[in-house]
């Protein structure tokens, strides 16, 4: 468990003396969402940001992850335990922590908190909200899909039907429509809350994707965490394409399915975490909402594999329009 991940992060940390990196007395508490470090998804991305900061600034990290379907007071207790153990700042990964952070931040006014994927605590002085414009990134990969589809038929697979994942869907659909309104978009969610197995059931992901490909879709975008592996397999078995999510999955996914990953929607949680910690290291605890959108490359798309090199021009064009506000991307599906 985290004993090992500790080991990991501290090794990255303990490399530093040899490379005579600066030491910092900042102790960072990292409260992951279900899955924690190594979920091949956004927890991992956050962890990457942490590791980078630890390496550069020599901070002392400690990690803890949520249990599936745990009690609210378990989340609160996680944050309190960090606070009591002298950790400051404490980073809560995932919107599930919103309520707990709100409550605990009030109990510990001198401790600084950061929460990812939630900005409902915008005006709490000791809380920094790190949110992303997933819909913007999704818009671009949607556009890419619409530009690349041979069959004018693409698909979207969401892991669990939550407002967050619906943002991905909304942006994707908008992006497709922007290029060619006639392109059909199939949408499937694998499970419903509180059944979060949709983020970890590749079998379901594969079946759903296979269904879309059989129905004529030739590109499927997944925002389904661990179930995405199934989507990629379905793509490679049926000789179609898929779009990854969160990180550049072309590099993280198994080599056998690399060549079907046309692009990935990048949600740079690692950047957010790193930059937050950087400021902390510089002695200022940011508060309020920081939105990571296209303008700051908080979200984006990947080009590894060179499958979309021919359309990057158009995509960057869309990107610019979004940044300039010429296009406003919806955050909720129609």
């Amino acid at each position: 468990g985290s004993s090992d991940s500790d080991g990991e992060s501290s090794t990255t940390g303990s490399d530093t003396p040899s490379s005579s990196a600066p030491q910092s007395d900042v102790k960072v508490g990292m409260a992951y969402d279900v899955g924690g470090r190594g979920d091949q998804s956004f927890n991992d991305s956050a962890a990457a940001g942490l590791d980078q900061a630890v390496e550069e600034f020599g901070m002392t990290p400690n990690e803890s992850e949520a249990e599936d379907g745990e009690a609210e007071n378990a989340r609160e207790e996680r944050l309190r335990t960090f606070a009591d153990a002298g950790f400051d700042p404490i980073i809560a990964v995932g919107f599930a922590y919103a309520a707990s952070v709100g409550k605990v931040a009030a109990e510990y006014p001198d401790v600084h908190f950061a929460i990812i994927d939630d900005s409902s605590l915008a005006d709490v002085p000791n809380v920094a909200s790190l949110v992303f414009a997933e819909e913007q990134g999704s818009f671009l990969v949607g556009a890419a899909a619409a530009l690349k589809t041979q069959t004018d038929h693409v698909g979207f697979i969401g892991g669990v039907e939550t407002p967050l994942i619906q943002k991905f869907q909304a942006g994707y659909e908008a992006g497709v429509a922007a290029v060619n309104p006639k392109v059909k978009v199939d949408v499937t969610y694998l499970t419903q809350v509180p059944d979060f197995s949709g983020f970890g059931d590749p079998a379901k992901g594969k079946t759903a994707a296979q269904g879309m490909y059989d129905a004529g879709a030739d590109i499927v975008y997944h925002a389904a965490g661990g179930s995405g592996g199934g989507v990629f397999e379905a793509a490679s078995e049926s000789g179609n394409l898929a779009i990854g999510v969160d990180s550049d999955q072309y590099n993280t996914a198994d080599p056998s399915v690399q060549d079907v990953i046309m692009t990935s929607m990048l949600k740079n949680v690692n950047v957010a975490v790193y930059e937050y910690l950087k400021q902390v290291n510089d002695g200022s605890f940011p508060t309020g909402v920081t939105t990571y959108d296209l303008s700051v490359d908080g979200v984006g798309y990947s080009t590894s594999g060179g499958m979309i090199d021919d359309i990057t021009g158009q995509l960057d064009d869309y990107k610019q329009q979004i940044i300039d506000g010429k296009i406003t991307v919806p955050t909720e599906p129609k």
Binding site: G1, S2, S3, D4, S5, E8, G35, G36, R37, G38, D39, Q40, D44, D68, E161, D186, V187, T188, Y189, L190, T191, Q192, D195, F196, S197, G200, D201, P202, A203, K204, G205, K206, T207, A208, Q210, G211, M212, D214, A215, G226, G229, G230, E233, E237, T252, A253, D254, S256
Partner: protein
């Protein structure tokens, strides 16, 4: 677990033998074609083409097998009189076993590992229930809790740091061979595309059988047949079943009851483990935390649905796998079509009930039929939330309408202690 549905009926039946001949073999073939024809008609009426596409069929295999194997595990242990709620846990153990051994030693080692881990789970259950005579459900529930914690714990120890591995998932693991007969496959595809009545459906099924058919699917079916043969056609099976029907009688005839129960539970665990392995290796391609998603319980349900018999189990898990697949693939359309089918079935049922003179039942069923029909015409796609309910709702409806002459093994779930004969 629970008193058999028949138990409310008192007293032994009088000396007249009730007609209880089971249907002859050829009947299965007929049923198969009837179903195909029905679906074919349904497709033509509703235009929901995914109902019997080869894609659906092969996905259905994948969805069915884990449930079927888990149910088969349940069948083994309950036939020997041991209720096994722990199937889910043993399945979970199996997924990790497949992940670990599969990654390090190759596909078939993964299969072996899955079975091995399942057997370990079975061992715990066997020791608790058979040797210590602990309540079967307690032990099973405990195993489910332990297994979940154990695999997460193990995963964090074994998969962290491996390429593509982490505490919630293993690296990609190799899959066992799959069979594809390209020429046949493509030809059949043409036939399938032609939308010929029944022929195309048949082609779809055949195509699924010759396209990327995993050896494990075949193995699973063989295991089902083997189990049937072992349990109903050999002395071993007779003894094992007798331990579930009347352990005292068995012991009074020199059968080592506890030994058979123990064996049965181990086999049960192995099968459940294999079910988990299948999920990890065939249905997907790595161990994933929470991968089983309650399929162990579904397997249990499928076994009860199948009246503790292999054939019924296959039907139960097949029905579930099929409807789940439909819901996941092009749910909106396919499930919408199913509404019509259900309406028709209910209507037929109502008529039959009326014939039987069960007026009240007939009225209720008829009403259900109307409601379903109305719903079908009211909407033209079923919203996603409900397509995902399909397998559960259908199972429930089928059970509610099919008259229940379930007959669980008489001594199922009872704690047996040596020497209680007489």
């Amino acid at each position: 677990m629970s008193v058999p549905a028949t138990a409310t009926h008192a007293a032994r039946p009088a000396a007249v033998a009730k007609p209880r001949r089971r249907l002859p073999r050829w009947w299965l073939v007929v049923a198969f074609f009837v179903i195909l024809a029905a679906l074919s008609v349904l497709e033509i009426i509703t235009g929901a083409n995914d109902l019997t596409s080869s894609g659906t069929v092969s996905a259905m295999f994948i969805a069915t097998v884990p449930i079927m194997l888990a149910g088969l595990g349940g069948l083994w242990s309950e036939r020997a009189g041991i209720v096994n709620i722990g199937l889910e846990g043993m399945m979970i153990l199996g997924t990790w076993g497949a992940g670990y051994f599969g990654y390090h030693y190759g596909a078939w080692a993964g299969v072996a590992g899955a079975i091995l881990l399942g057997v370990l789970g079975g061992l715990v259950h066997a020791v608790a229930t058979v040797i210590f005579g602990v309540d079967h459900i307690i032990s099973g529930v405990a195993i489910n809790i332990i297994a979940l914690g154990a695999v997460q714990y193990l995963a964090s120890l074994t998969f962290v740091g491996l390429p593509g591995g982490g505490q919630t998932q293993s690296p990609k693991i190799p899959d066992v061979q799959t069979i594809t007969v390209d020429s046949l496959s493509s030809n059949l595809l043409d036939v399938e595309k032609k939308d010929l009545f029944v022929v195309s459906e048949l082609a779809a099924v055949l195509r699924a059988l010759v396209t990327n058919l995993s050896l494990l699917v075949i193995l699973a079916m063989l295991l089902l047949l083997l189990s049937y043969w072992l349990l109903w056609r050999t002395p071993f099976g007779l003894r094992l079943r007798s331990c579930g029907e009347s352990p005292v009688a068995a012991e009074s005839l020199g059968v080592h009851v506890l030994r058979y129960k123990f064996t049965a539970v181990l086999v049960s665990g192995g099968l459940a483990g294999l079910a988990g392995g299948f999920l990890a290796m065939v249905a997907s391609s790595n161990y994933r935390d929470g991968q089983t998603g309650g399929r162990g319980y579904i397997g249990l349900a499928a076994m009860i649905f199948g009246n503790w018999r292999p054939g019924g189990l296959l039907a139960g898990s097949g029905l579930f796998g099929y409807t789940e697949t439909l819901g996941l693939r092009q749910g909106g359309e396919s499930v919408h079509a199913l509404l019509l089918a259900l309406a028709a079935l209910a209507l037929a049922m109502a008529v039959w009930q009326a014939r039987q003179g069960q007026q009240r039942a007939a009225v209720i069923t008829g009403f259900v039929a109307l409601a379903l029909g109305a719903l079908y015409f009211a909407i033209d796609e079923v919203p996603g939330d409900f397509t995902r309910m399909t397998p559960y709702v259908i199972t429930l409806l089928v059970l509610a309408f099919a008259s229940q002459r379930l007959r669980m093994p008489t001594a199922d779930g009872q704690i047996y202690r040596k020497g209680s004969a007489g």
